[in-house]
Assembly symmetry: C2
DNA sequence: CTGTAATGAGACATTATAGTATCATGTGGG
DNA sequence: CCCACATGATACTATAATGTCTCATTACAG
C-alpha cells in the first residue's frame, strides 16, 4: 500500500499503529515545550524519517489538529468517569489531579492558546475543557473547599499551572512521579507553608 | 542619519527612545504569549512598520537578545534592593511578589527555555535568575516560612507560575491589578482553601 | 527464507519568513 | 513655517520550513 489505511482492522497494521502512536506521543511532548518546533525536530524526536511524518499527517496543520483531538479525548476519557461518580468536590479534585498529572502535556497543550494560531476550528474543544475546569472550580467554592472570595478564573488558572508544573518537574526528574499528585493537591489547598 | 545612534544624549532622540521602548514592550508581550510570532506580527502589535523594526534591531536574534538583557536588568533592578534590605524571608517574599507581578512578562520570558533555542549565549542570565529564586526558596525553608519537606525546585516552580499566572489574568482583565500580589502571596503560602 | 509493505534518505518544488534597499510621506524641534 | 530625520510602504533577495516524490533498504508475516 502507499498510504496506511484502516481497512477493517487488518492483520499487520500493528506496526502502523505503533509508529502513529509514537509520532503523536513525541510530537505532543516536543510541541508542549517548544511550539515553534519544526517538523524536522519532531521527526527527529520521534526517531522517524520526515517522509514518514507526512505519510501519516498530510500537513503540520493536520498533525496539530489530531494532537488536539487526541488530547481532548484523553482528557475526556480520564475525567468523565470521575465526574459521574458524584463524589464530594474535594474527592473529585483529588481524583482529577491524580489522572491529570500524568496527562500534563495533553492538558497544558490543550490549554495553550499558542496552538489555536496554527489550527482554527478547535475552540470548541478548548471551551469544553475550560467549562469543565470552571465547573469544578464553582463546585469547590460551593462546597467550601476553596474560599468564597477567590475568583473562579484564579482557581482554574492555578490548578492548570500546578498540574502542568508537576508534569514538567516529573518528566525532568526533579520530582518523584508518585509524589507529584499529593504535592499538587497540598499546594493547591494549603499552600507551601508548614502546618 | 541612517541609523539611530546614541551619541551623547542628543537633543531629539526622544522619538527614537519612545519607539524603541514601544517595540521592546510590545515584542515582549507578544513573544511571551506566542514564541512563534513572526516579526510581522510583532511589528503589527507595536503599530510600526516592519522596516522600522529592522532599523532598531538588525535581526530577530538581536531583538530577542536585547529583550532578554532588558528583562534581566528589569528584574535585577527590581529585586536587588529587596535582597539588600535584609528583611525576613517572609517579607522578602512579599516584596518580591509585589515587584515581580507587574514584570510578569519579563519574568516568565526569561524563565522560558523556548527563548534559548533562538538565542544562545544568554544562559548565564537565566542561571542568575534561577539562582536567585533558589536562594529565596532555601531561605524560605530555613526560616520555616515554607514546609521543610517541600523540594526547592517545587517551591521555585510554583512561585514562578503563580506570578506569571497573576500577570496573565491581570493583563486579560480577569483579576484586578491591585488584588494580584495578595492573591499570589496567599495562594503560595496558604493555598486556596478557606481559613 | 521470501515477498511485500513500511520506512528512511534525500532530491526536488513551494511557500513563509527573515532580512535589504529605496523612496515618498509626515512629524517634531528650531 | 521649515527642513532634517524618522517612519511606512513596497519591492526585492536570501533563507528556512513545508510539502511532494522516488527509490533503495529494512522489518516482518507467512
Amino acid at each position: 500500500m502507499e498510504k496506511p489505511h484502516n481497512s477493517e482492522e487488518s492483520k499487520s497494521n500493528n506496526r502502523q499503529k505503533r509508529t502513529r502512536e509514537k509520532i503523536l506521543n513525541l510530537a505532543m511532548h516536543v510541541l508542549a515545550k517548544k511550539p515553534k518546533a519544526s517538523l524536522n525536530e519532531i521527526a527527529e524526536a520521534a526517531e522517524i524519517g520526515r517522509a514518514t511524518l507526512f505519510r501519516y499527517f498530510k500537513s503540520r496543520k493536520q498533525l496539530i489538529h489530531e494532537l488536539v483531538v487526541e488530547a481532548d479525548q484523553k482528557l475526556e476519557n480520564a475525567t468523565k468517569p470521575i465526574l459521574e461518580q458524584k463524589l464530594t468536590a474535594r474527592d473529585t479534585l483529588e481524583e482529577y489531579i491524580k489522572v491529570l498529572v500524568p496527562l500534563g502535556a495533553s492538558f497544558h497543550f490543550l490549554s495553550s492558546e499558542q496552538i489555536y494560531s496554527e489550527c482554527s476550528g478547535i475552540e470548541d474543544l478548548y471551551r469544553n475543557q475550560l467549562v469543565r475546569l470552571k465547573e469544578l472550580s464553582t463546585k469547590l467554592r460551593e462546597e467550601k473547599v476553596v474560599a468564597a472570595d477567590i475568583p473562579p478564573v484564579w482557581i482554574a488558572a492555578v490548578l492548570d499551572n500546578l498540574i502542568y508544573t508537576a508534569w514538567v518537574t516529573v518528566s525532568e526528574g526533579d520530582i518523584a512521579r508518585n509524589d507529584a499528585p499529593g504535592l499538587v493537591l497540598h499546594s493547591f489547598l494549603n499552600g507551601l507553608s508548614p502546618v
